[in-house]
Symmetry: C2
Subunit: 281 residues, 2 copies
Amino acid sequence: MSVLEECRCAAIIGLGLVGGSLARDLSAAGVRVLGYDTNRDDVAAAVRSGIVAALDDGLAGVAVADVIVVAVPVECATDVLKQVAPFVSPGTLVTDVGSTKARVVGAAFVLGIGAQFVGSHPMAGDHRSGWGASRVGLFEKARVYLCASDNARDDLIERAANFWRSLGGEPTRIGAGEHDQKLARASHLPHVLSAALGIALARGGVSRSDLGPGGRDVTRLAGSSPDLWTGIARENAAALERALVDAENEIAEFRRALSDPDRNALRSRFAIARDWFDAGL
Amino acid sequence: MSVLEECRCAAIIGLGLVGGSLARDLSAAGVRVLGYDTNRDDVAAAVRSGIVAALDDGLAGVAVADVIVVAVPVECATDVLKQVAPFVSPGTLVTDVGSTKARVVGAAFVLGIGAQFVGSHPMAGDHRSGWGASRVGLFEKARVYLCASDNARDDLIERAANFWRSLGGEPTRIGAGEHDQKLARASHLPHVLSAALGIALARGGVSRSDLGPGGRDVTRLAGSSPDLWTGIARENAAALERALVDAENEIAEFRRALSDPDRNALRSRFAIARDWFDAGL
């Protein structure tokens, strides 16, 4: 199905890695894309490439869009929602792309656009950020979590699912609270472990260029945007704290197993990890 | 330079990912490759592909090789060295490919082949293992640590360096003890963290297929061979324990920063990680 059937014009607030990639895909599909970013250079680059028409600071221009996508760091998403809320028509789909969902879904409800808001979290992207990192096809085969308000319109939930499907994504519905609990482990925990490992290596005098291909993979997320991830981690702090305690315990168990005279104490731990790995292939 | 100049015949004990890839590269370069593995299927596959001629169990056949490579799990390396030692001529280069170096270098000295032994650790490979995972070009641009005995012959150290250079590797000399200290952080620590994260996710009900591309990278090493890594971790237990304590402390610091009202407590930690990442590009 073509994205054009339900979205002739999209407004994207935030033209970073995710918003920019979305703009590229939509533009390639023939959708008119209106875009905004506080980074003037990114907007200029997006306009120059012919992918985006620039929105004014007031964001009133979003009123003509069938779909409004808030693609800013989670810390700013509520403020942007507040700004666009007055321009949302009953039939407009409003969504976002943030890694945490409870707060933004709640904010949409409070702002009176709960019926139109279906929060999205595409599991795509990498450690880089900004328009320069955006690319066509980012959402291909990516799971996209959809978190709607309790009063969201069924047709707009369906439109959100079709929107992501048309970009190659695989939408799946989940409650916002459950999403945040799950993602604390499935995404935020790996990010923090990767960053913590980076710091430990930095303090231990090991450069990333000293690592083999495996170590480089484990530490890739240490290169993520500090601002973006500070926002995500703080917004999901309680669930992430619990996940971190669990990870610390598992590491300490490995450490204890190292000095166990029984070789199997350590081997059985590596085996649990590998069984988990194999089950997810 | 061609590997053929100093190695017309190589014997490789262990035809797994590393030994098998070595066999493929050497055979492609015109070197005669003698091979052995306790896994009869892997030997049969290597022989069928025309890459390897099989060595008998006694390993006496290694006597005709210019270079003998011990490519078995580190736990078995000393036993294999003992087995081949009687067949080593004064001009034969003996090397290995293990992730720990102090014990094997010491063993070569004790076995009376210290003059011929130059231990190697190519920073190449992935989480898979066995002949089926081996491939041409594995050592391209890989750092290869060389750890010689105190009494190693200079010409054989030079031959070891040329051997790896001819396969695309980048040899660099280091003391065996220093190597093990460094690799506890640069390799063994990321492996254990990746496995510990895998266990934490398993216990938290998160499948690897629930992860995005970043999380999948962080957990790739959780798929490594339990036996191989039990051996490596136990052999470098003391240094790895210290590295694990440091990593646990850095994770706990992240956890504490999460609940700090000052946003910068957390941001500054992500920033240290990113600065380290950027410095290693």
